[in-house]
């Protein structure tokens, strides 16, 4: 019997599991994928937002700001990186320029008081590689970049080493609430608990219906494609480059990554599928062209990776958070790209809604995240690493072995990549893929090698 079952191992679910474990609850996290972070959380722009442009007075803003503060507070204890970039909202035409004062005003209203408008000279002094036709910008000094996978992995790992549990490959099929307790039927057997927290992301509405029989909201999957440029590009931009938003979308961002690359994206494409994160050549070319238009020196720059993420948007803009007190059921739904920042804040919010008391952990264990950020010491800089397996990203055998063991070992290639960066560099596994196949043999349900080579 668990106090709380968290359904969904995305960044929100991981943060919620951590919060409830730290507060002393007996927690089980269920993830339908082979590994955590296999849905919306696997593809985003990795920005730690100040909330300067979030809807004023919204729960989203409150959770982002609480999440930002907590991330900064705990990140050294978990060895999580922050790449301090700041952001510039750049105006490229008169119409955009006219919107800048409004952006500053809104930021100040949201309590982000260090946001200010800067002229084209200051924009170019800060970022000399930008196209000279930039007309001005809004500087957001504390908008930063983090590692979008190490953070949630650290949250869920902290939950695990302090007594929480995680069950992967587990789908909640139905749920029944009676006498103050839930029984969840899953493909891996029944689970009993007092409270259910729905963090099911792209499947949040489906789970909601399975548990309540009501149609409270509808997920409208919105895909975003990204292009990652070679590390040589990282010298061309130090700051997150944001566009002036339109009514429809926040637009295409160019940003450094904590892995030392440059990222451009996302698009915003409505689609029916909740799990087809496919890319298409025309859109990828458009993203490359857009990046070259804003940073001309990117012309001819190598592309290291392409990917797409799917945001769990709903028919409404705001987060779909609901507490069904009669059924001990909390929904954290419709959490889109701001979720990476807001997750820790959402977890605190869910804890407040939960409103029960447990014996808080007095001296929790703080596990250390792997050393993946390029601006921080990497594992290969410490002796005894064995050998470099992935040369592009300098991933060591020691790191891969650690990711395949420990409290939450990687259970698929994507999970291993997110834990180590293996295969994520410019050659995309040309040199290391076979070696990784050998090292992971027998460990993944979907293995890299389909069998032995004959002959």
């Amino acid at each position: 019997m668990y106090d709380v079952v968290v359904v969904g191992g995305g960044v929100v679910g991981c943060a919620v599991a951590r919060r409830f474990v730290l507060e002393g609850a007996k927690v089980l996290l269920l993830e339908k994928g082979a590994d955590i972070l296999s849905g919306a959380s696997k593809g985003n722009s990795a920005i730690l937002h100040t909330g300067f442009d979030a809807p004023s007075g919204s729960l989203e803003l409150a959770c982002m700001q609480a999440g930002y503060a907590e991330y900064m507070d705990i990140r050294n204890k978990l060895r999580l990186p922050v790449l301090e970039t700041g952001a510039v909202v750049a105006a490229w035409n008169e119409e955009e320029l006219a919107k800048l004062p409004g952006i500053v005003q809104a930021a100040h209203a949201n309590g982000v008081t260090d946001v200010r408008q800067i002229g084209p000279g200051e924009v170019l002094a800060r970022e000399p590689q930008l196209g000279a036709h930039v007309l001005g910008g809004v500087l957001v000094p504390h908008e930063h970049v983090i590692d979008p996978w190490s953070a949630p992995l650290a949250y869920v790992t902290q939950a695990l080493v302090n007594g929480g549990e995680v069950r992967r490959n587990t789908v909640v099929l139905s749920g029944h609430f009676a006498n103050g307790a839930w029984r969840l039927e899953t493909n891996t057997g029944p689970v009993d608990c007092t409270t259910v927290i729905n963090c099911a992301g792209l499947y949040g509405d489906i789970l909601d219906y399975r548990l309540t029989g009501e149609e409270n909201f509808t997920i409208k999957p919105r895909k975003g494609q990204f292009v990652v440029f070679d590390k040589a590009a990282s010298a061309l931009l130090r700051t997150i480059l944001l566009p002036v938003p339109t009514e429809r979308t926040k637009g295409i961002v160019i940003t450094p990554t904590s892995f030392g690359n440059l990222l451009v994206g996302p698009t915003a494409e409505e689609q029916d599928s909740r799990d087809r994160a496919n890319v298409d050549e025309d859109t990828l070319r458009m993203l490359v062209d857009k990046a070259v238009e804003l940073i001309p020196a990117l012309e001819g720059m190598g592309v290291t990776a392409v990917y797409a993420g799917i945001r769990p948007a709903t028919e409404r803009k705001e987060y779909r958070v609901r507490h069904d007190t009669a059924r001990n059921y909390i929904v954290l739904g419709g959490i889109r790209s701001t979720g990476l920042t807001a997750a820790l804040g959402l977890a605190r919010h869910a804890w407040k809604l939960y409103a029960r008391m447990h014996e808080r952990l007095t001296n929790p264990i703080w596990p250390q995240a792997p050393r993946l950020a390029e601006h921080c010491p990497r594992d290969w800089q410490f002796p005894g690493y064995g050998e470099i397996i992935c040369h592009c990203e300098m991933v060591t055998r020691r790191e891969i072995e650690a990711a395949l063991s420990g409290p939450l070992p990687a259970q698929d290639y994507g999970g291993l990549k997110r834990r180590t960066r293996v295969g994520m560099g410019r050659c995309q596994g040309f040199y290391c893929n076979a070696r990784v196949a050998e090292m992971t043999a027998g460990r993944f349900a979907n293995p890299l090698a389909v069998g032995g080579a004959h002959g």
Binding site: V279, L284, V303, R435, A453
Partner: protein
């Protein structure tokens, strides 16, 4: 401190080391990031390798083994699992080893880091991103180094020589390619090798490409540009080689966007005259034998240089790739008389016309050519009129 540090223990790097030792250079070190010397031929389990170097027909692994043994016998310092992480001006190297980080100062550094195929991402291939999408190099490492198969019935993209070699690799390891897809209207590899897929009974789709890879977890099918869908469990992306020039690109050295490799003069000397480059790092792509000879030739220049016998860098002539020309290597000529050596170039598209090297004063070299992108074109600098005071030579094809 070493006399010459060679980064990369493939054919070019080892040939250079052997030449330097033969010339009496005392301290020659090869820094190889893998645990074994040999480079890419290690996993090319097919002949022909080594005919010129060793006078016999070898497979890739056999050739790699011979190279490694020769380097050892010659007294080359072989530093395995040494990953160079940064190039500093004047020949200083930052190196990662399993025992810790270190630095190495060399009088001269030879970059010989080779080339690799363009991955799916760099080709911007659309669709899902399942397992089973690989380059030939990775496939060869699966079957030859690990004894594993990454798929059983892939679609093969590309008909360069390496693509055809990949078909052979597949067939000899129980993998049955279901189709070959080629963007052009005919096979890139020369006749009769282009007939190879047909001989194996594998359908070839010309003027086509992959519009979309389809698959959840693992490749299930590809959709071609004409809409046709082919069921398969893998996609093998062959050819489209790129110099592995990231060290140079992240350093102070000048890199040529056309060739993808460091810019060099006719001695293989980079923009920092402590650095030289040889082999497939200079340009995509030549055979192991070519890289071996190139490594040896440039090493001879390095040996000369160490004894003060190489013309100083400085007064240079820039070679500019003009119409129809994809790249020219070297990119610079040190102004010496007479000029010796060869220009290597490739074309961007199938083309016929007059290959011309000209300065502002006039045409220094011309000849009729009819060629295709995969073919090597050489211009003997000895046959070119002296460039006089020209600072810039244009290399173009005039139709």
């Amino acid at each position: 401190m070493v006399d010459v540090a060679i980064i990369g223990g493939g054919p070019a790097g080892i040939a250079a080391a052997l030449t330097l030792k033969a010339r009496g250079v005392p301290r020659v070190a090869i820094l190889e990031r893998e645990g074994v010397l040999g480079g890419v031929p290690r996993h090319c389990g097919h002949p022909p390798f080594g005919v010129r170097e060793f006078g016999r027909l070898l497979t890739g692994p056999g050739y790699a083994h011979r190279l490694a043994a020769a380097a050892e016998a010659a007294g080359v310092e072989i530093l395995l699992r040494h990953s160079v992480t940064a190039l500093k001006p004047g020949g200083g190297l930052e190196v990662a080893t399993p025992e810790g980080r270190t630095t190495l100062q060399a009088l001269r550094v030879l970059l010989a880091t080779g080339a690799r195929e363009a991955p799916r991402s760099a080709r911007l291939v659309g669709g899902d991103r399942p397992l089973g999408v690989l380059n030939t190099g990775a496939l060869q490492a699966y079957v030859h180094l690990q004894g594993l198969a990454p798929f059983t019935h892939p679609v093969v993209v590309g008909t360069e020589l390496v693509g055809l070699s990949a078909l052979a690799t597949c067939r000899s390891h129980g993998i049955r390619p279901v189709a070959v897809v080629e963007a052009g209207s005919r096979a890139v590899a020369r006749w009769p090798l282009g007939l190879f897929p047909r001989l194996l009974g594998i359908p070839v789709h010309y003027n086509s490409g992959i519009e979309e890879i389809i698959g959840h977890g693992r490749v299930e099918a590809v959709r071609l540009r004409d809409g046709r869908e082919i069921a398969c469990d893998g996609v093998l992306l062959t050819g489209r080689f790129l110099p592995e020039a990231s060290l140079a690109r992240l350093s102070h050295l000048a890199v040529d966007a056309r060739s993808g490799g460091p810019a060099v003069d006719q001695y293989g000397r980079c923009s920092d005259d402590a650095y030289f480059a040889a082999g497939n790092l200079l340009r995509p792509i030549e055979t192991a034998g070519w890289s071996f000879r190139e490594g040896a030739a440039i090493a001879a220049y390095i040996a000369d240089d160490l004894m003060g016998g190489l013309p100083a860098a400085g007064e240079e002539i820039a070679l500019v790739a003009g119409d129809g020309v994809k790249f020219v290597v070297p990119q610079l000529l040190s102004r010496v008389a007479p000029l010796r050596g060869k220009l290597q170039l490739r074309v961007e598209r199938p083309i016929s016309g007059q290959l011309r090297v000209s300065s502002e004063e006039g045409v220094l070299y011309k000849r009729r050519i009819s060629t295709r992108p995969e073919r090597r074109i050489l211009v003997d600098l000895g046959e070119m009129k002296p460039p006089g005071e020209a600072k810039r030579l244009l290399v173009e094809i005039v139709s």
